[in-house]
Symmetry: C2
Subunit: 206 residues, 2 copies
């Protein structure tokens, strides 16, 4: 068992390789569906060798989750309270959509976990995600109070962004099956832009 301090070159490389392989396997099979052997094979290591770098399957999984959550929430954190409300929000939507396009495995990893009741993430949800959501919901609430955005339920609004964007990653097979040749990500940005612009433009009711 390698120590956490002073990781060797080999340790750094192999731990990274393992996490990459684990992302691939866990995101398509879920925690229970994935086997240590699959991950080891995907990483090009033997099973005992893999378990030399991580104490257990569970440990790989939780390290993956916590390691990726920060990146995953970056787009939301990046909403600037000083910017123009509507444009800030629309830019957030596009960033989030990009995440679905560029990191679909990460999205499916979380989706798998949460659909199954988030047994290994519940704490993270209330400790990390909840405060962030509330901060941004308050910000949006303020913008609405100032008449800069159309009045809506801020939390439901943010859920809407998540569901609409992550759908393209989580339900990728379905979306692609139904769209045939057309790449879903061709029209998705404009579609979501239109949707949220109409929803949020503070205007005489249409």
């Amino acid at each position: 068992m390698p120590k956490d301090r002073n990781p060797t070159r080999i340790q750094k490389k192999n731990r990274a390789t393992i996490l990459e392989a684990a992302l691939e396997v866990f995101s398509t099979s879920g925690f229970r569906g994935a086997t240590v052997d699959q991950i080891a094979r995907a990483a090009g290591l033997s099973k005992p060798n893999l378990l030399y770098y991580f104490p257990s399957k569970e440990a790989i999984f939780t390290e993956l989750l916590s390691g990726l959550l920060d990146t995953w929430l970056d787009p939301l954190r990046a909403i600037d309270p000083q910017g123009d409300p509507l444009e800030e929000f629309l830019a957030y939507v596009q960033r989030k959509l990009q995440m679905s396009r560029d990191f679909p495995r990460e999205s499916r990893l979380f989706a798998n976990e949460i659909v199954q009741g988030a047994p290994r993430m519940l704490e993270t949800l209330s400790k990390d995600l909840k405060p962030l959501l509330e901060e941004k919901a308050d910000l949006i609430e303020g913008w609405m109070a100032d008449g800069k955005l159309n009045r809506t339920h801020p939390k439901h609004l943010l859920f809407s962004v998540w569901s609409l964007t992550q759908h393209y990653a989580d339900f990728d097979v379905q979306v692609r099956t139904l769209m045939g040749d057309e790449d879903p990500f061709d029209a998705a940005p404009a579609h979501l832009e239109q949707m949220f612009r109409r929803m949020l433009t503070p205007a005489p009711k249409i």
Copy 2:
């Protein structure tokens, strides 16, 4: 192995019990995560007894899927080409949202399957869902051409309905964790109504 024809009273009862138990277990654990023993226990039967009614775990799963798909698609089928376009569509959104509230396990069953690449559903997707989607997309397209609905990408529009509504079932734990005491389904109907009404009202661009 009971014959399909002339099922006895006991057969009818037990097959139904098993499917109910299987829905419970599969929807929270996915196919691979669920064990036959879990399902048997949830159904109050012994494992060999359960396997007397269904030849295999796989058989239970596929029977569940195909049995539920029809119900699942009912709200979409019910869109009436003769009705008022906007109101028809908004009613569809609400029906779909009700499904998420009333049948969250069914939603998660499909979600689990599709997130993991739909290995047992791909054929169903292209054979059953695709034609239905195209029929309804064409209908919506027509309504837009007639100026009854604001112009958008019909397929992406339908994906939006699915993702927004199913999110409340599939990500139930997350949504409830983040909303605390407030029941998500209190504000969701109005939120989605507002969202799609703004999106689809054919009006001078706002």
